[in-house]
Symmetry: C2
Subunit: 335 residues, 2 copies
Amino acid sequence: MAKRTIIEIADRVGVSPATVSRALNNVPGVSSDKRRQILSVAAELNYHPNAIARSLQGQRTNTLAYVAEVNDRPTTDLFFFKDFITALAECCVNYGMDLLIHPVRDDDGSMNDITRALRSGRADGLILTDIRRDDPRVRFLLDQQLPFITFGRTEVGRPFAYVDVDGEGGIYAATRHLIERGHRRIGFLGLPMEYSCAMDRYAGYVRALSASGLPLTPDFVAQNLTNQTDARVAMERLLALPAPPTAFVAASDMLAIMAISVAAQHGFTAGRDYAITGFDDLPLAAHTSPALTTIRQPLQQVCDELIARLVGIITGDGATSSIVLQPELIVREST
Amino acid sequence: MAKRTIIEIADRVGVSPATVSRALNNVPGVSSDKRRQILSVAAELNYHPNAIARSLQGQRTNTLAYVAEVNDRPTTDLFFFKDFITALAECCVNYGMDLLIHPVRDDDGSMNDITRALRSGRADGLILTDIRRDDPRVRFLLDQQLPFITFGRTEVGRPFAYVDVDGEGGIYAATRHLIERGHRRIGFLGLPMEYSCAMDRYAGYVRALSASGLPLTPDFVAQNLTNQTDARVAMERLLALPAPPTAFVAASDMLAIMAISVAAQHGFTAGRDYAITGFDDLPLAAHTSPALTTIRQPLQQVCDELIARLVGIITGDGATSSIVLQPELIVREST
DNA sequence: CTGTTAGCGCCTTCAT
DNA sequence: ATGAAGGCGCTAACAG
């Protein structure tokens, strides 16, 4: 599999490299006869265009970089990451893009590392997740006028392109669902409040209670849960209340699964002794016991919108536009 | 942040581009005076070399591609993936490499897609995981003489470079640990047997029983567990035996955590009513309740060896060499 | 419709 | 120690 070039093809067919290029790129202005010959020889030689040469000449790398935060703490999206990254990578392929993983240590306050892939011309744009309520990275990229998109919103006082899922609405729906099932004492298991989505989801819980005329009971709320130790402490506290919740709204499938496990150790079975809802609808959620009622994030669509919009920003098509996708309540056995 | 080139620097300093290149790359043959000037101007202009141009001219992309299998089934390494990918990406940075995520649908029998990144000159080498006992991808890459490395071994009858963790030894140690704790009836929760590591780990369990003169009880063994439904069915079967196991060896932390959850629903508490061990030592494992006794995979070292060896293969340094790293038993509360 | 020329940004001979 | 020139593989611009 020696490396072939268009020059070899040109020589064999007896045309110029330019013609080969045109034929290969479906550019009009090549006789269908030569076009056929060229394509045929290319296939025969097992020719594949060199992406690097194309990038250099086209001033575009056709590569997007996912900014991955690296830290040594256990994180809350462990379950979600694989599905997200693989979906993202597949969407990239659909747009003729490659996906680079760009690790950034989150203790690197310099904020400099984040643009390495852009500065070195390795990528055309950045994808960010785990957005904070006031995310300095977003401010920085906006200041620098660099092409990026986020999965999640943040309050920076300036417009920018993002894709988000309506977590407020999703959790609202989940909470209402529990209320309709007759629950009146409903606990909330929340993510670290520094994240935008944690705030959103909590807001949905609050609104649902309020809309149903139920009181917001501070004792029923546990925030900032990142690992099973947190989840255990929180659940044990909730379950030990004089009048504990009969239902729980968890801000992620991972938290829900952890909570179920803790409750089980105390003799409480989800879906029988109490109800619980998750958020994400990971493939796993349908296979837990009991199967988890949850809010489905339209992951494929999220990734597709992310890539489509970022590509738009890079190519200069269309303005900075954002979108908020609607999640869907999936009712299973846990409620 | 307009794009700077060495030509601009050359102009400002009043030297040729060649000299700038030499200065920037620490190539000898530049007066220390000019070198200083050049570096200073480069910093001033916020110059960063264009990686694409370097790649084109150097015939090396300095990019490695991780072959990510895409499928719609829930997978067994959900927990592991994030830590692995971020560690891998960080190691790449240490070697001046970038990491590309190269999604491949596993139903694409053609085996063609797998080399896309290589053929298009986007990457210099491939990284594979989830190795099967007889992995067609490895055969294929070997046939094509393409640069790759695997995390995990396979039987293809030819030597190739891999990094692996001694899962057999790890599970052996875990099983012995349980035996020393006085357990005589020990269950095994295994991964899908198509994977090399599933076989290895099972072998460790078998050897440990044998070494202690304990019988291998087929009823105590559950293989091919991929999700919580599987885990539930398996655990319920095991727990319902007339004389159920008093301890369980799980082939992954994820399986262990699922098993604990299922057992809890039946009123059995890990670390009190029965013992259980995992495999991976994810950050999560220290934060489960009870904290999980497990086998630690030296993840950082695995990634470092993977990258180091793959880079070696690409640059032609050193021969095809492989390494098997030793895992470590971490005793916590679950045993 | 087709070929020639030029150049993307960089590095590496080969001269000087 | 430095500069000029050529080329990595490809495509866009301009001729013909």
